[in-house]
Symmetry: C2
Subunit: 414 residues, 2 copies
């Protein structure tokens, strides 16, 4: 009887742990699986032999899988390790997999992590090693190919739309002219920025303007757009993507004094802060820049239940596929209907998703470049549905214990 | 039969509308009250004759009061108008109250608004005008005297504690040294910053450091505190109040390039952004500054149910007091027990609350000035309890329609 090993990699989302819970649940119920291992800090942890026994952890307390399902970030910790492809590295990885008698390797992550799955499955085949490698997709950026939408995106979308609606209520109370510029994550893809339009309703037109990185950003046009909206509305809310660039391809955020990080931790942020100063100078009304930053990706308390369920299901589908002998694939979903919203699960070759980026189609952006089309709204709407059943204790979300990650820190230190 | 008029004033909270709902509900059920008027934009709206008929709005749809109860910000809009006390102003106000045949005047707001209640009730008495003036307290800052805690504070406290917990999960995933500096509102009072410690639990010590404005802030001590915590923890989360000042009384936020607003809209913000640059320079690890800004005060989706209920009850108590003939008072609550948490409602002279500020007692701050004591935690804990029953539609909080505020904007324009 072979063992299964699971890892998480890349940036956090509200539902990566939902996928982990789905994978563990499926493995716990299978007669074929021996031990259920977790690599702490992904492939990097594996190479340092930092492994925990998930079966031992959860078999006695299966209800804790429900708490795991509703806890944001990454129970197993993360890494940003990219497989270099040298022999020594492969040997180290396969040695550990052999030592732990692993038959199935499950990796939850984005484009880079799917590259890991691809390389390891190809190399294992080449070496005649019988380990199946299967990926589970995740990213708030929604920039993965080969899937209708990425797990993690729906919850981030719900967060940003909720923010915009609440800021719109907040700013409605005064009758003075005011501009709020909200910066959404999503790197070079505009999906999350686009999702802010879900905040709109009959009685509230915010956000009035949205700017996606798929269209070159003109500061002058932005100021002119804001000016026009201020003529109609007292309070204007604009959402800009962190990844907007000018027509020479330079990030607007690079013009900000706040976004820079002199220690080489590349981070896109500061576009809103920069545009705030521009609007103050050129229009001269009250302006606020809001950057929800990491709150967008870890706000488990406002997770989309659709997202939580799908992430969980994709976890089970991946383990099932691995047990059926598939390798070099990832679990995916295809939308079969918008109304009622239905999806169908399956698997797809990781080559489709590894190292690629799915941008917003330009046809889904308004000709003026400051809004999205009804097709985009139809695509987005189902993804934020449902209130996740986050457990609460003493008035706060009661997430799963992650003290094992401290133990890891201790281990690395010594 | 006399009419009642209600207004809202000052900055928004998640539960000012809960108080409004309580006031309307009590008035709707009373045989003594004729019309139920709302002044749009507070006393300023009254003086411009911008009045709506709340009885007409809600009597046919009483279930909408439940939506109002769970909608953040201010259904009636706000103002920052301070009574100057000149005769012309008083005459204008009393003239409108007479024209609308008002017997009871209810005002929901903070210290400044209670000053309005105090001045108008005194002036009415002097002029022999039979209108009763009663206040309903609100502020996320919790700086009101004469009440155990201010409605609005519990929800903001729950928001900030939730943020800190979620950021702690987000940052737990990597094993590199990182510092997050979160800036909490609260002006010159440290209550909201203190509330962030509710995020702590057995398995998670964040926030590791908290800095209240009641103690002079030393940048050097801050850097040394962070350094010490980084020795023990991979990831350190510090919460600083927007109102922290150095030992000469200057705001730390004034040192930031982002906090300034050249158009005279005084705003405290930027302390975290400034401290980020300091930690980057002096410690040199990964640092993020997070400023949840207005999201703290309008996040109805994570309102404290204790707060929502108490705000509603204070609305009913105020109208009841006015109908009983009280004037120059505000509705208040007194805590009678911590475990189980119980309160008792009553009224108190507005002189107690008008133009004063309740700071955090220095005994509730740790001797090191970077934490709070168990007494503070005991005080705070019950205030964030309970998940508010926010209505949802299409995956988002379904707040009350506020299009009547647009109508106001139109009116002001013409």
């Amino acid at each position: 009887m072979k063992n299964i090993i699971i890892g998480q990699s890349g940036g956090p989302t509200s539902v990566i742990n939902s996928s982990l819970a789905g994978a563990i649940e499926y493995a716990l119920q299978s007669d074929e699986v021996g031990k259920i291992y977790g690599m702490v800090n992904g492939i990097e942890g594996l190479m340092q032999d930092y492994i925990i026994d998930l079966g031992e952890m959860f078999r006695p307390v299966p209800h804790e899988l429900n708490r795991l399902k509703h806890s944001p970030a990454m129970f197993l910790g993360s890494c940003r390790y990219k497989i270099t492809g040298n022999d020594e590295e492969y040997e180290r990885i396969f040695e550990f997999l052999k030592a732990y008698d692993v038959g199935w390797f499950i990796y939850i992550g984005g484009n880079d992590s799917m590259d890991t799955v691809q390389k390891l499955s190809a190399e294992a085949a080449k070496r005649g090693i019988d380990v199946k490698f299967v990926g589970i997709p995740k990213t708030i950026d929604n920039d993965l190919n080969g899937i209708d939408h990425s797990p993690g995106f729906g919850s981030a979308a719900k967060y940003i739309a909720t923010c915009v609606r609440e800021v719109a209520y907040d700013t409605s109370i005064y009758s003075i002219k005011a501009v709020h510029i909200i910066e959404a994550m999503g790197r070079d893809a505009g999906w999350l920025t686009a999702a802010s339009v879900l905040a709109r309703q009959d009685n509230m037109p915010a956000p009035h303007l949205v700017y996606l990185p798929e269209i070159p950003f003109s500061v002058d046009r932005f100021v002119s757009d804001v000016r026009k909206k201020l003529y109609v509305y007292n309070s204007v809310i604009a959402v800009v993507s962190e990844g907007i660039r000018d027509d020479e391809g330079n990030y607007i955020s690079a013009r900000s004094t706040t976004g820079a990080d002199r220690f080489g931790h590349a981070r896109l942020s500061g576009a809103a802060a920069y545009l705030k100063t521009v609007v103050e100078e050129q229009i001269g009304c009250k302006v606020r820049a809001l950057e929800p930053s990491v709150l967008q990706r870890s706000a488990g308390h406002i997770a989309s239940n659709t997202d939580v369920s799908e992430a969980f299901n994709l976890g089970t589908v991946a383990v099932k596929a691995a047990l059926e002998g598939k390798t070099g694939v990832f679990s995916t979903l295809r939308r079969t209907s918008d109304k009622p919203y239905c999806v169908e699960y399956g698997t797809e070759d990781v080559a489709v998703v590894a190292n690629t980026e799915k941008k917003v189609p330009v046809e889904w952006i308004s000709p003026e470049g400051n809004d999205v089309t009804p097709e985009m709204v139809r695509y987005l709407r189902p993804l934020i549905r449902g209130v996740a059943q986050t457990p609460y204790r003493n008035g706060l979300p009661d997430y799963i214990d992650i003290r094992h990650l401290d133990a890891r820190a201790q281990k690395y230190r010594n």
